[in-house]
Assembly symmetry: C2
Homo-oligomer: 773 residues x 2
């Protein structure tokens, strides 16, 4: 049982480490040679130039201006200063609304904390149940427990305070949630209706085009929409299966990069032609002149790409049964996206097209029947992943012991046998398999979502986030509360009655308060402070910079801005909502720790969004219904276990009062769903018509067809074209001034899809991945 | 424990009573004076004349043609002869598809019965578990049990047969369900796209028109749709709150009827002017000349109606914030019904308009927020109704005993004290409260649905059917299987573990087989045979005919054709599906009894639909997804309890094989939902466009506005107009030939909404109810 002293010590350690992170960040961010690590967003936007361009060499690497160190916490007001509309403009609506989740945490929990400390803490403290039971039962208790519900005597009337508080907290949370839902809905509608014309406003994604023996997919699509939307159909873009082409383009890009490198090398040292080996990774095989070899390779690949492009564009088999159909007006696109086209509801499926850069191209051709089978497979797989993941890990752990290693690698025996190392390995090894699993878990979940067949990166991330939350809820929260693995719990819950489950959890909840306080400090405080330091990207950038960066372009690509990472970030926040809601009534001591997390995380992530993270797509806050729903489910869960806890405390007569709470909460959720969720799924015709009319009045001669012409072309074609143009520009530049690394400003300002945008995401097609071999 | 002999006796009694009903029906239906009881559908269609018109007096009442009695089962081939397309034309798609539910039962259970008797019965029979346990434990068993799963020894490998059979039955049922869903979907789409033009194809119901201080509802609707559907908007019809007007019209109709009666009476006996009293029901008050009094009353009411009509049409307060908006094409109506209009998804709600006669006018003005509160209230109320309905009934039962009656009505004491009567009352009274409750239950459920705010009679009936099924499932099926009231079960289930619930039910299932066999024979065989006899309508018709019928019009209205009664009929069928699916593997002996029910009910209801029931609305088989879903849920339930049963039989190793079954079934349901359900909710644009194009080519000069002009006017206005016209015709006729009761043929052929259509339904506005005071 932790006392105040223990908690204080833990708090001290974690505050200290958080401070160390923040100070280290404050110093490191001022060094020019870290500029690309801490301000990549500005580079991506083309608003910041490499500081290495001018000035003394030392100044390029270290900041010698002592005054800048004094104001080492300056970044905080900077991060908070940018107003929200500007933030939306700078980093997109998704980012701005993502930050509102932290604000929502503050809005809910600041009054809850104040109320709980003003009322619940005194009510709990002024009892002596624990002291008495210490005397009679020799029970150990801590000062923390004296502030919790455990200190109320059995069957006391004081429990009415807790019930009233549970109602108050629920009403407050619902009030704030409703207000926030309304705000986000308004922001989304305003954003969508904003001035900027976007291709997805006019475009509908048509899936499952039925095969026609007499017509190509393109003709079939055109005829269908000319017949069924005669006054509105504008143009369409078929979807090519360009995976092979993407592979070739990637290869060529890599070779081109090596060529640049060798040419640079040769130009620096003209005495020696650079050589390379043709085999695996340039390590074996015939030795040849590197520059000539690469020029020849590029030529070959260019030819192949040209052939493949021709093949893809002409071979009907490479055309997938899907298309992006564009309409003359937003109204018509909204109509087509919301209606059923054919009497067979599994063909001619239409949906609002995602933003071009948000599309996950690989999934566009999955047929309807296969989709539902995939969904079944993935849900079964996720069930097994959640409840049985400990089994393979236990097997790995039992194999990966000292004896196992000695058997496989006998030459390591003398080293391992050193007792210090031995004990280290024995203590460390069992954990490592689990750790590795937890690190790759988001990737596994993302793969599941991809297999399930979602069509946009944003929906992939949303689905992964849901799964990650469920996994965390079961394997982090429940497993921490009740001892035993998730599988054991599943077994025991199946064999227990429905009414004892909340009781079992409810009873264990107050006892785990100190554990979760420590968890919040480690994961929430120090973890978030560590996020701003970006230690991993920092190290990797400098390693890459030192060993691998051959050209200026490489440096640009070595820069890893990362992204918000909705699929892992949001479930983490949700865990804090869950903890806050569960402990608000039971152990209010925990609340201030959560408040600090929300405040710190808000500032840190606002800074990161402004300065670091790259915006990979814009879904216009499509994730809000999920966020709202998960908070509601945490509320219902907390109400159920409060009921369970009360029933063991001799306050069973309170059950009828508490039963109404989850019913009201679920009803509130249904109300919100009906009132606000449609704005996240459909595009109201009124809005569309308004925007259309405005545009028609303003730009009567707009060439919409030209505007939409290439919007939904597979990125590989676009990249390929762009790349070729690029090459020309570069060659021209190089003729003008050799040896000066060019900054192709033009490239950075190219509109969507940004070449770099896929850099850090695991979800864009391979084409856009790193060029390193 | 029932033996074959017991079952045989019960079967004999029920077959006998069924036969008695059928023979009685065969005789009664041939009597001309029963013609209106057994063939009202043909009267409603105007295809049959009153046989009382011509011929000898005796012949008008009794059929003396002995030859017709010989072929007393002739109605069976007659009922089966009418082909389905003709049936759809005659009685609507709803009726035709309703009959397919019985056919579906036959399609599923005929092969299942054959397979079960060929494989499961021998497997069960060739054991001696029950004989052995009779010797060792003195357990009683019956021959029926020897054919059931109870006869398999503990842990036997023979259980694999049952598991394989469970899979076979599931696959067969799913195969048939899928085929049937596809057929019904095709029928529905074909029906909707059929030649006949219907107003609902062009019309959308708009609810929650937001209030506008500057514009009336009508203007607001017109402006909104002119702006947002500029090329398609045609016209609209606002909804009036005409409840008071409907009341007045009803009153006038009644007075008019009395006037007719008195005039008839006076014309027969000119010596005495008929007199009446002005007070309550003509029993007290001043005595006046009846004819003059009624003429005066009618005049007054006519004036009031005219005033009220004027008021309703001019007072903006009597216009409800809803409207029927019609479009120029089916395409535009389909678009408007399927899309969201405004950025606030709780206003300007659009949905495909129901057929005019299907509309439940009273609910058109319920605002969005109120709707969701109503839904919450009704679901809570239904929960209490289901689990706590026994409490008031028990109270009533405890009050309504002999002593209670003697206290309230001491003058009855001498009669009650007679021992025979006393024992009869004591045995009868406790049941009567329950019986009365069960009789009014469908009405209560219908009231709940009405309160919930559904807009069409078809959806009201669908929702009531769902509730009635749940109520039956819990309070008939579960309560019969496990002793104790639903409330006691709920309590015990909450306190039991999730895994023991299927076990508890599963173990009890085989023991209740004989009970359910008897139930099927009583409710299914004799009950259905009783349905065709129409004893209640027969008696009521003749009573009315004798005592109340004053005019020919009254006779027409005394005829009570009834309707299919989806809200009570479908849940009854579903109970048989449930029994069949549950017992298919456990006690296959039950299956033939269910087969006989389905076959008998199919023939009987086909006859009733052709000859008796009035079609109240046409929802184009909108109920099929509900039917399908309930059969699926019965399948999943049967699989779960099979698992529970197996686990107690020492066949726990089979659980993994059985777990896959409900998962696959639910997955199958999801697939069907995605593949077929949209056809029941949306109108595909392709269909709409095809129909539009065809119509444009065929009738280029169609005056659609004229066609739709009065389609969605409140029935009271329509009735009123029609009624007035009627009066004129009648007066003209009366001038021509007094004393001859007129058959206004014209009235019978008037299109929707048929005046009579609401006669037997509790759901149409009061206007159309019976005229009797």
């Amino acid at each position: 049982m932790a006392t105040f002293g223990d908690i204080g010590l833990a708090a001290g350690i974690n505050i200290l480490s958080a401070l160390v992170f923040l100070i280290a960040f404050a110093i490191l961010r001022l060094q020019p040679f870290n500029d690309r690590v801490y301000f990549p967003k500005w580079y991506l936007k083309g608003l910041r130039e490499s500081p290495t361009h001018s000035g003394a060499f030392v100044k390029k690497i270290v900041n010698l201006d002592w005054r800048s160190y004094i104001r080492f916490l300056n970044w905080v007001p900077d991060a908070l200063k940018m107003p929200e509309p500007e933030l939306i403009d700078h980093a997109g609506l998704d980012s701005a609304v993502y930050l509102r989740i932290y604000l929502l945490g503050l809005k809910i929990f600041v009054p809850v904390t104040l109320l709980a400390w003003a009322i619940l803490v005194p009510v709990n403290w002024t009892n002596n149940t624990l002291e008495k039971s210490k005397v009679t039962n020799k029970l150990q208790y801590s000062d923390i427990d004296k502030l919790s519900i455990s200190n109320i005597p059995f069957g006391s009337n004081r429990f009415w305070t807790h019930i009233v508080m549970a109602y108050a907290f629920t009403f407050w949370a619902c009030y704030i949630l409703r207000k926030e839902y309304a705000t986000v809905t308004a922001m989304r509608l305003h954003f969508i209706a904003s001035e900027r014309r976007r291709p997805d406003q006019f475009t509908v994604l048509v899936k499952n085009v039925p095969p026609d023996p007499d017509e190509s997919v393109s003709e079939s699509v055109e005829h269908f929409f000319l017949v069924n939307h005669p006054d509105h159909y504008l143009t369409h873009q078929v979807v090519f299966n360009a995976n092979k082409l993407a592979q070739l383009v990637k290869e060529k890009k890599s070779k081109q990069n090596w060529l640049d490198y060798y040419q640079l090398k040769y130009s620096r040292n003209q005495s020696k032609r650079p050589m390379t080996k043709t085999g695996f990774l340039g390590l074996c095989g015939e030795k040849v002149d590197a520059i000539e070899h690469h020029i020849a390779e590029i030529e070959r690949l260019s030819k192949e790409i040209a052939e493949e492009t021709k093949r893809v564009k002409n071979d009907p088999k490479s055309i997938m049964p899907a298309a992006f159909v564009s309409f003359k007006t937003r109204w018509a696109a909204a109509v087509c996206a919301q209606t059923q086209q054919s009497r067979n509801p599994t063909v001619w499926l239409t949906e609002w097209a995602p933003e071009p850069r948000d599309i996950y191209w690989d999934n566009l051709a999955i047929p309807y029947v296969s989709l539902s089978i995939r969904r079944l497979i993935v849900s079964v797989a996720f069930f097994f992943l959640t409840f049985f993941f400990m089994i393979p890990i236990t097997i790995v752990q039992s194999l990966a012991n000292i004896e196992g290693i000695e058997k496989i690698a006998p030459f390591l025996k003398p080293i391992i046998e050193v007792s210090l190392i031995k004990s280290f390995i024995q203590g460390f090894l069992p954990g490592i398999a689990l750790k590795i699993f937890l690190i790759v878990l988001p990737t596994i979940l993302m793969l599941m979502s991809k297999f399930e067949g979602f069509l946009s990166i944003s929906s992939l991330e949303r689905r992964s986030a849901m799964r990650y939350y469920i996994f965390n809820f079961i394997n982090v929260f429940l497993v921490s509360v009740i001892a035993g693995t998730a599988l054991q719990q599943l077994k025991s819950f199946i064999h227990k009655s429905a009414s004892t489950i909340p009781t079992t959890i409810g009873v264990a909840i107050p006892m785990k308060a100190t554990f979760f306080i420590t968890y919040i400090m480690v994961d929430g405080w120090a973890g978030v402070a560590g996020e701003i330091l970006r230690l991993k990207p920092l190290i990797i950038f400098h390693l890459k910079n030192f060993f691998l960066v051959k050209t200026e372009k490489d440096r640009e690509e070595a820069m890893d801005p990362g992204s918000i990472g909705f699929d892992t970030g949001e479930p983490q926040i949700q865990l804090y909502f869950l903890l806050g809601l569960v402990y608000a009534v039971v152990t209010p001591v925990l609340l201030p720790f959560i408040l600090i997390f929300f405040a710190l995380a808000y500032v840190v992530f606002r800074h990161q969004i402004i300065n670091v993270y790259n915006q990979e797509y814009e879904s216009a806050a499509a994730f809000w219904p999920d966020v709202h729903g998960r908070i509601i489910s945490a509320m219902v869960f907390s109400q159920l276990i409060l009921m369970g806890l009360m029933s063991t405390k001799g306050a069973a007569q309170s059950t009828p009062f508490l039963v109404a709470l989850p019913i009201l909460t679920i009803y509130f959720h249904k109300f919100c769903k009906g009132r606000y969720e449609p704005a996240f799924i459909r595009y109201p015709l009124q809005e569309a018509m308004m925007k259309d009319t405005l545009e028609r009045a303003r730009e009567p001669n707009l060439n919409l067809k030209g505007y939409l012409h290439n919007a939904y072309i597979h990125p590989v074609f676009k990249y390929y074209d762009e790349y070729d143009e690029d090459e020309l520009t570069r060659e021209k530049l190089e003729q003008e001034s050799e040896l000066v690394p060019t900054k192709r400003q033009s490239r950075r300002n190219t509109p969507v899809p940004s070449k770099i945008s896929g850099g850090s995401s695991p979800s864009l097609p391979d084409v856009q991945e790193n060029l390193q071999p």
